[in-house]
């Protein structure tokens, strides 16, 4: 065992290889459960959008597509920096890992900041579902349904991002303390998988929420 990699082999595993593969598979299985978790919301979205296509299109127009696009770009960039962090870990380059983890976290925070701004705007415009909801024109009730799904889906997504930032903080501490090496970069890899998943969920959310009825 190289001296630079003090990470231990857990007692119930026979080899580092087995431990690493188990952790990766575990993260993949967990991501499958997350897909099913979001899946329920996507199912509700499909049902309500096909019932009220006009109201959904009208409601979607109220979202700021510029901010949404910016956020999409920010998240994709953060996936790039995350991938670079994992690559740095695979090569045992501590500084690289720290740099790209920090960049990923910065980008993630930018995303959340923009999201927070959007939520505030929606609050000011009175399109937050509940007693204060106001939407001009016919079909206000169905437009409210759009916003229920908007807040539920992006809210759940944001929650996952916050958890992701927490996970990355822990990774940052690990990396800064030199606990990551070319022999043991498992946690970074698993964190990367999680981060990419959160990104992919957004890639689906963005067109479904922001781009309804904007073609042409």
């Amino acid at each position: 065992m190289p001296a630079s990699a003090p990470a231990a082999l857990a007692h119930h595993f026979d080899s580092r290889e087995q431990q690493r593969e188990a952790a990766s598979l575990g993260m993949w299985v967990f991501l499958v459960t997350e897909i099913m978790f979001f899946g329920g919301l996507f199912a509700a979205y499909v049902v309500f959008r096909s019932a009220f296509p006009g109201a959904f299109a009208a409601a979607s127009l109220r979202l700021d597509v510029l901010l949404g696009t910016t956020n999409t770009a920010v998240l994709i960039a953060s996936s790039l920096t995350m991938a670079l962090a994992v690559r740095g870990a695979q090569r045992g380059r501590r500084a690289t890992v720290v740099l790209f983890l920090v960049l990923t976290m910065v980008l993630g925070s930018v995303f959340l900041g923009i999201k927070l701004h959007e939520y505030h705007e929606k609050f000011v415009e009175h399109v937050v579902p509940g007693a204060g909801f106001r939407f001009p024109g016919p079909g206000a009730g169905h437009a409210q349904m759009f916003f229920v799904l908007y807040f539920a889906m992006t809210g759940l997504h944001a929650l996952h991002m916050i958890v992701g930032l927490g996970v990355l903080t822990v990774m940052l501490v690990l990396a800064a303390r030199g606990r990551v090496s070319a022999e043991y970069y498992n946690p970074i890899e698993c964190a990367g998988l999680y981060w990419h998943f959160v990104d992919i969920v957004w890639i689906f959310l963005f067109p479904l929420l922001y781009l309804v009825g904007r073609h042409g």
Binding site: H12, A22, L25, V32, T33, M36, G39, A44, A51, M145
Partner: protein, 544 residues
């Protein structure tokens, strides 16, 4: 070697139970075997609560008038009975108690892939139970375990959110257990242990874990949406607010149908172990049983609409679900035939575990065939939401799943505790349970076809005779469940010490001591044969 397996034997000097003492060594354990026992204590506690509800329900139903409880109290009783039994007993029982204990041993590993996650899972489970008990103590919930909307979102003024939260948390406990099992089975098998050399118990739990992983998150989000609607009063499921009550039902049953396979597949796995063990013969059709387990897991996700034939769904959708529901009966039938065929030319011993396993086969067959009746559209219209349904699912859940669980407990008790229990009392209680069960639930088929709806606490007087019969049976069944509690606890103190292989059967778990050491095996086993390779007659049964 004389070939006579010894039933008793000196216990090992150190094993997982005496490796460390004190409450901290249990509450902070990461040993899968200790966690299995922690779960045993938890699920027994929740079973007792659910069982108490059942006793009160059957007491009320002995008379046609609702004279024991007020209507809304009765509604809370059956709701809590369902929730406790399904989410806090049946779903965790075999996987979290027997699966946790046995899977690492059966794959030749020292522990599950994620031992700390396993412990966390147990704490989550109890946390979920705590929320639900809190709701119970503060008046309970009266929506039925199915939480149909808009009653649960808008009309019920009971502790819906607390209960939903409790189930939500317990759901995550279940997901983490399933995740642990899948990774363990994929990555931690001993050298030489290929997939088709795995015991069928492992196959069953693998299939169960697939269902847990794919289905439980959908229940989780459904419960969250239900809670959100109750709090914010926006219309997702309430038509008065623009929502769709059928959407709730689809989302709910998308999990809750596969959930019944989470409950019965592990019991089938237990039966697949007990039958060859107590016939001392390789199981018939190993691969078919293995494939049937996975087929059940896949097909179970395609049939949820059969709970909604009269719910207002399109008749064409209903037709599709009926056809698929017929299809899902086939893998179960294949298993039943294979188990029965295993007895042919076997050396059949009618020990208690075998009594439970054979009882399972008979009662599960009856329950499953009544399920076929329910999949038949023309019949279901009449019997849906009646006692016929109640009888059907109790035949599967109690006559099937619980008997599988008890059979497994009786089979592996010597391994888990290193003690033997009373053979006499265990056989008595198995028979009392079998008789009590049938007297309780068979009349309910008749009541259902007669038209007695479910969730009724008062009913027309002409239904009384059958109800009294059912309540009498419930008393017998209750007694039957108490007896094992007594002799199992007694055995831990006064039972004879078990040898490593008291039944004289074949399997990795029987090659280590009773109880096993913390690391399960002295050295990692190397597997060169399939799981039920019994030696030919005249040979030493212990030889491999």
């Amino acid at each position: 070697m004389t070939g006579a397996h010894a039933e008793t034997g000196a216990p090992p000097r150190t094993h997982y139970l005496n490796a460390s003492y004190g409450i901290r060594s249990w509450l902070l354990t990461t040993d899968h075997k200790r966690i299995g026992i922690l779960y045993l204590i938890s699920v027994t506690f929740f079973f007792a609560i659910g069982g108490l509800m059942a006793v009160l329900i059957r007491l009320e139903l002995a008379t046609p008038q609702g004279d024991l409880f007020q209507a809304d109290v009765y509604n809370r009783l059956f709701t809590m009975h369902g929730i406790m039994m399904i989410f806090f007993f049946l779903i965790p029982s075999i996987p979290a108690v027997l699966g946790n204990f046995l899977i690492p041993i059966m794959v030749g590993a020292r522990d599950l892939a994620f031992p700390r996650l396993n412990l966390f899972s147990w704490y989550l489970f109890n946390l979920g139970g705590l929320f639900t008990i809190w709701a119970l103590v503060h008046g309970g919930v009266d929506t039925g375990w199915t939480f149909y909307t808009p009653y649960s979102t808008t009309y019920a003024n009971t502790h819906v959110i607390a209960t939903a939260l409790g189930i939500f948390i317990a759901g995550f406990s279940s997901i983490l257990t399933g995740l642990n099992f899948v990774v363990t089975i994929h990555r931690m098998r001993a050298p030489g242990l290929t997939w088709f050399r795995l015991p069928l118990f492992v196959w069953s739990l693998y299939a169960t874990s697939l269902i847990i992983i794919l289905g439980t998150p959908v229940l989780a989000i459904t419960l969250l949406l239900l809670a959100a609607e109750r709090i914010v009063h926006v219309g997702i499921f309430d038509p008065a607010l623009g929502g769709d009550p059928l959407l709730f039902q689809h989302l709910f049953w998308f999990y809750s149908h596969p959930a019944v396979y989470i409950m019965v597949l592990p019991a089938m796995g237990v039966v697949s172990e007990i039958v060859p063990a107590f016939a001392r013969k390789k199981i018939f059709g190993y691969r078919f049983i293995a494939y049937a387990s996975v087929a059940l897991a896949v097909l179970s996700f395609l049939v949820w609409g059969h709970h909604m034939f009269v719910a207002g769904m399109s008749i064409y959708a209903a037709t599709v679900f009926s056809a698929l529901s017929m299809l899902v009966a086939v893998p179960s039938a294949v298993k039943v035939f294979n188990w029965t065929a295993t007895l042919y030319q076997g050396s059949v011993s009618w020990e208690t575990p075998m009594l439970y396993a054979l009882g399972f086969i008979g009662l599960f067959t009856m329950g499953g065939l009544t399920g076929v009746m329910l999949a038949t559209l023309g019949i279901d219209v009449h019997v849906h939401d009646t006692y016929f349904i109640i009888a059907h699912f109790h035949y599967i859940m109690v006559g099937g799943a619980i008997m599988g669980y008890l059979g497994g407990l009786h089979y592996w008790w010597p391994k888990i505790t290193g003690k033997l229990y009373s053979r006499f009392w265990s056989r008595i209680s198995a028979m009392v349970i079998f008789i009590g069960f049938n007297v309780t639930f068979f009349p309910q088929f008749i009541l259902g076809y007669l038209g007695m709806p479910r969730r009724y606490h008062a009913y027309p007087p002409e239904f009384q005779v059958l109800n009294v019969m059912s309540s009498a049976g419930a008393t017998i069944l209750g007694v039957g469940y108490v007896i094992p509690l007594v002799y199992f606890i007694w055995s831990m103190r006064y039972g004879r010490d078990a040898s490593s292989n008291p039944w004289g059967v074949v399997g990795l778990e029987w090659e280590t001591t009773s109880p096993p050491p913390t690391e399960n095996f002295e050295t990692t086993p190397v597997v060169t044969r399939g799981p039920y390779e019994y030696p030919h007659r005249q040979e030493d049964p212990g030889a491999r």
